[in-house]
Amino acid sequence: MNAVTQMPATNYEILPKTGGSGEPLGDLLEVSMGPHHPSTHGVFRMDVVLDGERVVKLKPVFGYLHRNHEKIAETISYLASMPYTDRLDYFCSMTNNWAYALSVEKLAGLTVPERAEYIRVIVAELTRLQNHTCLIGFFVQDMGALGTPLMYAFREREKILDLFEALTGSRMMCNYMRFGGVRCDVTPEWLGQVQRVVDDYGKFLDEFETFLAENEILLARTQGVGVLPRELAVNASVTGPMLRAAGVNYDIRKVDHYGVYGRLDFKVPLGEQGDVYDRYMIRVLEMRESVKILQQALRDIPGGPVMDPKAKLRGFRPKAGEVYGRVEAPKGELGFYLISDGSANPYRYRVRPPSFINLTILEDMCLGHRISDTVVILGSVDIVLGEVDR
């Protein structure tokens, strides 16, 4: 029998050549990854300096999609910005709407009827479901599982987008919320459709998890990769699933109890290692919690109006003052900082974009890893360039 050629495990990669005292001997290679690299999910660029295959420096470069959303919003009325917020994180227009509506309601002192609060919870959790589902699809696609898992994810997303289309007339740019409520009431038939989708979602998650959770390639590519320590995550203002994967129990739904989240029973999943695998797993677990929230909201939704009768659509001029409002969007803390001077347009309109700020520590997570790992690490951050560049 022929001797089996043993392949030494460490010889896959081009190791950096170092001298006696550890200084690099070879030349460093600067690679501009993006803006049209398929793994960057949009027009995003990473200036990477490589020593062999190892990353020694990485600077994210963005702004290709910058349209100065904030400046536009300062020149138009409060309500006219609502459709613009859809375009921030174009996967999650419902939570963007909610964050903006919540801030303006705080500014103008409007109350939201109970039924509208429940509808908001339902659409926001549906948004979270489809965002996390798609993210996982894209994420395994970045690892080389081309096509199939993403199509599974998109099949489920399609069901939720159909619900949004039935409710708002638009699949992604929903423009559904108004200051003091929502634009139109939901029908019992629509709630029945949601119930069916939600009931089936658990099955899909089981299936998806069976395929992926213990997949050898997924484990090898994600475990111990891109570790984000807890202290750094807090100090660098990282929010959302990224933060909770690092083991910090901070979910704005639990901290601020906005909407009716105070009445709903759900858990906040936490990671242990803070690596890419934890970030993946947190999203799977969060989807299961979202299904639980949806079941409760669908059970408890009361009747009644969906708009505050005091809310004005025309001639809306909140009193002078300033406010900062925030919600737990699927990608992290989405905040709106508004200053009113008593006129019809905001004097200052600021969006706190979660994925923009979560990119602060991209370099820290990638240093010392291989160039192929940066793709996976970036995928686990979950960025949308509409929001990063604004």
Binding site: K71, N235, A236, S237, G321, E333, G335, R350
Partner: protein, 211 residues
């Protein structure tokens, strides 16, 4: 959480020389902010971050605000003798307020789950070379947001490790979020490497095309 007055008193006790001013906020749901002088901003930020009662370890939002030159009107009551009778009359007092730029920080505590505390710094005037103090050494999360403030508002944040433009490109002139910014007519045009290639290629054109 403590009121702004309590926080102010404790900062002034802990950081010698720091002057904190509490700014009013007419919106009842919003929070009043603490205005800190740039000379002590970093020390105050460190205090807010480390203090055991506050533990503001999470700097959520950093942004700039541009305040143009304005005339502030204030209604005051004055006593005047009108037709031999002393009367109280309302008078409008006008004071000119020179413009300035602001950097606003919204601080929360992840450990104690409270907030926000709004911290502000003001620049002297709103010229081209105005500055404030970077708080990135205290909160790493300010890094990109302060770059954005520099890029869009033109506030130099002293002590920032990597102060470059972030959303606009490097050769861009001006700061588009300022209230008086006027977009140039040719803002679409941007020289590209392609232009240089075309210029070089002209040498090889036949003379009638060159002319």
């Amino acid at each position: 959480m403590e009121t702004p007055e309590q926080i102010k008193a404790r900062i002034e006790a802990a950081v010698p020389g720091a002057k904190i001013e509490i700014l009013p906020n007419d919106c009842p749901a919003g929070e009043r902010s603490l205005l800190v002088d740039p000379a002590h901003a970093l020390a105050v930020a460190k205090f807010l971050h480390d203090d055991a009662q506050l533990r503001l370890d999470f700097c959520s939002n950093v942004t700039g605000v541009d305040w143009l030159d304005a005339e502030l009107t204030e209604k005051i009551k004055v006593k005047r003798v009108v037709d031999g009778v002393e009367k109280e009359i309302e008078e409008v007092k006008k004071t000119a307020r020179p413009g300035f730029l602001e950097v606003v920080y919204h601080l929360y505590s992840m450990e104690l789950k409270h907030g926000p505390v709004a911290l502000r710094q003001r620049t002297a005037g709103r010229g081209n070379e105005v500055s404030a103090v970077s708080l990135t050494p205290v909160w790493r999360g300010c890094e990109f947001q302060e770059r954005e403030v520099f890029d869009l508002y033109g506030i130099r944040l002293e002590g920032h490790p990597d102060l470059r433009r972030i959303l606009m490109w490097d050769g861009f002139k001006g700061h588009p979020m300022r209230r008086d910014y006027v977009a140039p007519d040719d803002y679409e045009y941007e020289p590209t490497p392609h232009d240089e290639v075309l210029e070089q290629a002209k040498k090889h054109y036949p003379p009638e095309v060159q002319a």
